[in-house]
């Protein structure tokens, strides 16, 4: 059974309007070799489309995370928590 990686970000610390705006910092994006993170304008659940003014970071490609913890170390806001699971190489399909 594959153990999934879980990565959580604390948006009270990093968010447009919080003490750090991700568009200014960008450190987690820079250090992550597999580029797991995505910086994007917030997508409201409803209504769609998004709020173009408010940006945040999400961990998207969780299966590519190698558990190196560099993002956790580099984050000036201590906003990132990583619980490493299995990293998957290329998914070939069935």
């Amino acid at each position: 059974m594959t153990k999934k990686t879980s990565i959580k970000l604390d948006y009270s610390k990093c968010h447009t309007g919080a003490s750090t705006d991700p568009r200014e910092c960008r450190k987690c994006l820079f250090v992550c070799d597999p580029a797991v993170f995505l910086m994007h304008p917030t997508l409201e659940k409803h209504p769609d489309p998004h709020n173009p003014e408010i940006w945040r970071v999400d961990a998207i490609w969780l299966s590519k995370c190698t558990g190196c913890m560099k993002c956790v170390e580099v984050c000036p806001e201590k906003a990132i928590t990583v619980k490493p699971g299995d990293s998957l190489a290329i998914i070939r399909g069935f």
């Binding site: 594959t2 999934k4 580029a35 910086m39 997508l43 299966s63 998914i91 399909g93």
Partner: protein
């Protein structure tokens, strides 16, 4: 020649067909409207839900037999879509192919519609946090992107003439970026990217999840064994891990299954040992895009 050539190539490669670059064709497919919606929303592509799934943890989802197969079918169907009601925020019909520098420069010199601009690569901005003005866009897409100032490079001339665009592609390719050409939406062609993995969204889906969002090129690399001096310089150029140095025989080998035919490795070879050959000329690779 792939299925796109048969459908849209008018007898040749799809991206060499002048008709697919024209304004009239763009209008016929309402490309202006599509592009406006798509570029306004580009950075939200991977967090949007597609049939209830977004891309968060895509690898784990694709590992599940039934759901994985369904996601594959849906994603590939959307990227290849030629339906009328295509959804721009999901990038429906935004398909691309890797191509060598020569073919990309031929497009810029002869086929691309004006105006031509260079803008920040959106993939590198949203995935690596860097601003790198390497995307060459043209025709109706240029006018759309110009309206969204976050993509426009600061303090440089971003409208290019043909010669400048050809030169920009040269510099980017020599740096190691992979040229790719894009429908947006099929069959309107309006972008030549200079991509980097793993940030590039299209190559990400292809390389890490084997989704056919981007096709491999029409060519493959051929190593001239007699000329290779084993200097290893080419190995660091390949973004697809297709080249490897073998100490025992003091030369490099290529894994043709991994080679995308981008030709970028050639810039590193001082001994003329690397050349592109048509994919069709290698029976085991013909038709494998």
């Amino acid at each position: 020649m792939c299925e796109w050539c048969f459908k849209h190539g008018d007898g040749g490669k799809w991206y060499n067909n002048a008709r697919l670059y024209r304004n009239e064709l763009a209008d016929e497919y309402n490309a202006g409207e599509y592009l406006e919606e798509q570029w306004k929303n580009m950075e939200t592509l991977f967090i949007r839900k597609i049939m209830g799934f977004n891309s968060i943890g895509l690898g784990y989802k694709m590992q599940m037999p039934i759901i994985g197969r369904l996601i594959r079918k849906v994603v590939e169907g959307q990227i290849h879509s030629e339906k009328e009601n295509r959804n721009p925020v999901r990038a429906d019909g935004h398909f691309g192919q890797v191509l060598p520098l020569e073919d990309a420069q031929h497009i810029m010199g002869n086929l691309a519609a004006e105006p031509i601009i260079k803008n920040y690569c959106v993939c590198r901005w949203m995935q690596r946090g860097v601003k790198d003005a390497v995307c060459i866009n043209f025709g109706q897409l240029s006018e759309v992107i110009e309206k969204h100032t976050r993509y426009i490079p600061e303090g440089v001339k971003y409208r290019l003439d043909r010669e400048e665009a050809i030169q920009a592609l040269q510099e980017q390719n020599e740096k190691g970026y992979v040229a790719s050409v894009w429908f947006q939406p099929v069959p309107y062609i309006n972008a030549i990217c200079s991509c980097e993995s793993p940030e590039c969204g299209g190559l990400r889906l292809r390389n890490d999840f084997n989704l056919k969002t981007v096709y491999k090129g029409e060519y493959l690399i051929d190593i001239d064994i007699d000329k290779c001096e084993g200097c290893k310089s080419c190995v660091r150029m390949c973004q697809f891990n297709a080249l490897r140095y073998l100490p025992s025989v003091k030369r490099v080998i290529v894994d043709l299954d991994k080679c995308f035919g981008c030709g970028v490795c050639r810039h590193a070879c001082k001994h003329d040992a690397l050349n592109l050959v048509p994919r069709e000329s290698i029976p085991g690779q013909a038709g494998k895009y």
